[in-house]
């Protein structure tokens, strides 16, 4: 049945839809188009005029050692951040899935880092992981003579940064899994128990399949936020130690475009980043959603 509009559609759009759409177009969509335009030039605001260079920036990008390193750094970081908080979050959620003040209080505690600014989290961990910080003090007290330089060792710094992100995101996964666990009907679990299924079997056969929507939301949120990791890198390591050992693509885009003023080149980098995020998110979403439908 088609409804007849009571007021003209155009008027409805102009008054209700347009204001939000206009701001969105001006500050998100237009900048993406401008960015794409820049990526085809050698634009540098301090050295005009810009020349059209076609796909040259993109060709250079895939021969650029620094960009390939950033791509590798971002990939490692994303893989760790998608897997670790998801797994640990599920474990903690199962552990805390009980009623009572104790479990309520512990849930709130796990969620606290989620509401902290990433700058605050980064500074706390910078101090904790300092070569002479409390973590290494504790290790020395335990008899470790040369505790690792968590943030100063080029082989280790990326994993330290990844751990910080995981720590902050863990509570998010815990809360989403807890909500999922509450949606698992008790009758199903009881029926499985009567049929003789042990706790592990019950979890695998009943609980886990019903947590599919929670897994989807956690994975997509972690994927997107891992891919745009900037704050932690900027505050904790500033891309170092050494050359680009922790510099993500998100970090390199702004370093190249705003600090070094190579706007054209940075824009090509940003476009590659956008395509990767969009493709990955679409694939992951489609894959996980299909799992949900199959149930």
């Amino acid at each position: 049945m088609r409804r007849k509009p009571i007021l003209p559609r155009v008027w409805h759009f102009a008054s209700f839809g347009a204001p939000g759409v206009v701001v969105y177009l001006c500050f998100v969509m237009a900048p993406i188009l401008i960015s794409f335009g820049y990526s085809l030039t050698n634009h540098n605001p301090f050295n005009p005029p810009a020349e059209f260079v076609g796909l040259e920036n993109y060709r250079l990008l895939f021969q650029d050692e620094q960009f390939l390193t950033a791509l590798r750094v971002t990939t490692i970081l994303t893989v760790i951040v998608v897997i670790v908080p998801n797994l640990l979050g599920l474990g903690v959620a199962v552990l805390l899935d009980r009623k009572g003040w104790l479990y309520n209080a512990l849930r709130s505690m796990f969620f606290t880092p989620v509401i902290l600014s990433s700058v605050v989290v980064s500074i706390i961990w910078t101090k904790l992981l300092d070569d002479r910080g409390p973590v290494n003090d504790a290790l020395r007290a335990l008899g470790v003579e040369h505790p690792p330089g968590w943030l100063s060792d080029p082989d280790l710094a990326l994993y330290s940064v990844a751990s910080i992100v995981c720590w902050q995101m863990l509570g998010f996964c815990v809360v989403v899994y807890l909500a999922g666990l509450q949606g698992v009907p008790a009758e199903l679990l009881e029926a499985a128990e009567i049929d003789g299924a042990g706790p592990v079997r019950r979890f695998r056969a009943v609980t886990w399949p019903l947590l599919a929507p929670s897994l989807t939301i956690n994975t997509v949120v972690l994927l997107i936020s891992a891919f745009k990791t900037y704050d932690y890198v900027k505050v904790v390591t500033n891309g170092g130690p050494g050359s680009g050992t922790t510099a993500t693509i998100a970090f390199d885009v702004l370093a190249t475009g705003l600090d070094a003023n190579h706007v054209g080149y940075a824009s090509a980098m940003a476009m590659v980043m956008l395509v990767i995020v969009a493709t990955l998110t679409t694939i992951v979403l489609r894959f996980l959603r299909r799992r949900e439908v199959d149930l």
């Binding site: 209700f16 900048p31 956008l274």
Partner: protein, 272 residues
């Protein structure tokens, strides 16, 4: 896991996880030299000296940053709520094919990393004379977060019976009146989650105020903390106190609205 073991395991795991939070909390109330010597000890007796020092700094860094953060956050979330509720209403009530396209374009905005658009945004703002101003940052926040608001509101408005609006329209109310007097009050849960999430995100935001407000024009609490670690490296007490004070408003906000927070977060998860 039997009932005796579970609380013990839960407390142990949580204690391990909470070490960084403990570390901040104890050091806020310790004199600077004690932080360096015994960072993990309990502050005995606790001293408010660090907090006092931050609150009475001659350059007023904390108060200026606080005022900027409050202004940016409040303006952004008010405008965002109004615009995204109205746009959400349009999308939920219009059945034209192009509104579906519009919804998709907005949805895409949920995954665009800010780094992709920030460089051209600074140029757009420079052209309009809004670079390094609070208004510029607020406008950018509105554009960047409007997809999230619309996403939340559209879902909710679909649950409001359209007959309710039609009846009021027949009674002679204008569409604007119908929306603000009848529909909007019904959207309270959606409004709460939009206000809470965007409030926390915008308050905690680092990269956008850092780049849009620039180095000299103004600091928000996050950029203020970031700049003061460089300048006051030796004065750890102030850094901890500043972090604590900057987090306090969000923490109170969160503890007061915890239920809505979790509901807002998991609404999407359980609905799928």
């Amino acid at each position: 896991m039997r009932s005796k073991l579970r609380p013990v395991a839960a407390i142990l795991v949580s204690a391990l996880f909470a070490v960084p939070l403990y570390y901040v909390l104890v050091n806020v109330f310790k004199p600077g030299d004690q932080i360096a010597r015994t960072p993990a000890s309990v502050p005995l007796p606790p001293t408010p000296a660090n907090i006092h020092a931050v609150l009475t700094r001659p350059d007023g860094l904390f108060w200026v940053s606080l005022a900027n953060s409050v202004l940016v956050t409040l303006l952004s979330i008010i405008v965002l709520t109004v615009l995204s509720a109205m746009l959400g209403h349009y999308l939920a009530r219009s059945a034209k094919r192009w509104t579906k396209v519009l919804a998709l374009i907005l949805l895409a905005g949920l995954m665009i990393p800010p780094q992709v658009i920030l460089i051209p945004v600074t140029e757009v703002l420079r052209l309009t004379g809004l670079m390094a101003t609070i208004q510029g940052l607020v406008l950018f926040n509105v554009g960047y977060y409007v997809p999230f608001g619309v996403f939340v509101f559209t879902g909710f408005i679909r649950g409001v019976p359209v007959e309710l609006e039609e009846a009021a329209l027949l009674d002679g109310a204008s569409r604007t009146q119908v929306f603000w007097r009848i529909v909007f009050p019904l959207l309270r849960p959606a409004t709460a989650s939009v206000l809470i999430f965007l409030g926390v995100w915008i308050w905690n935001d680092f990269i956008d105020p850092l780049i849009i407000l620039g180095p000299s024009q103004g600091t928000t609490v996050t950029t203020g903390i970031y700049r003061s670690i460089g300048q006051y490296q030796a004065d750890l007490g102030s850094v901890f106190a500043l972090m604590f004070l900057a987090t306090l408003p969000v923490l109170i906000f969160y503890l007061a609205l915890q239920k809505q927070f979790v509901k807002g977060l998991t609404g999407g998860a359980t609905k799928g």
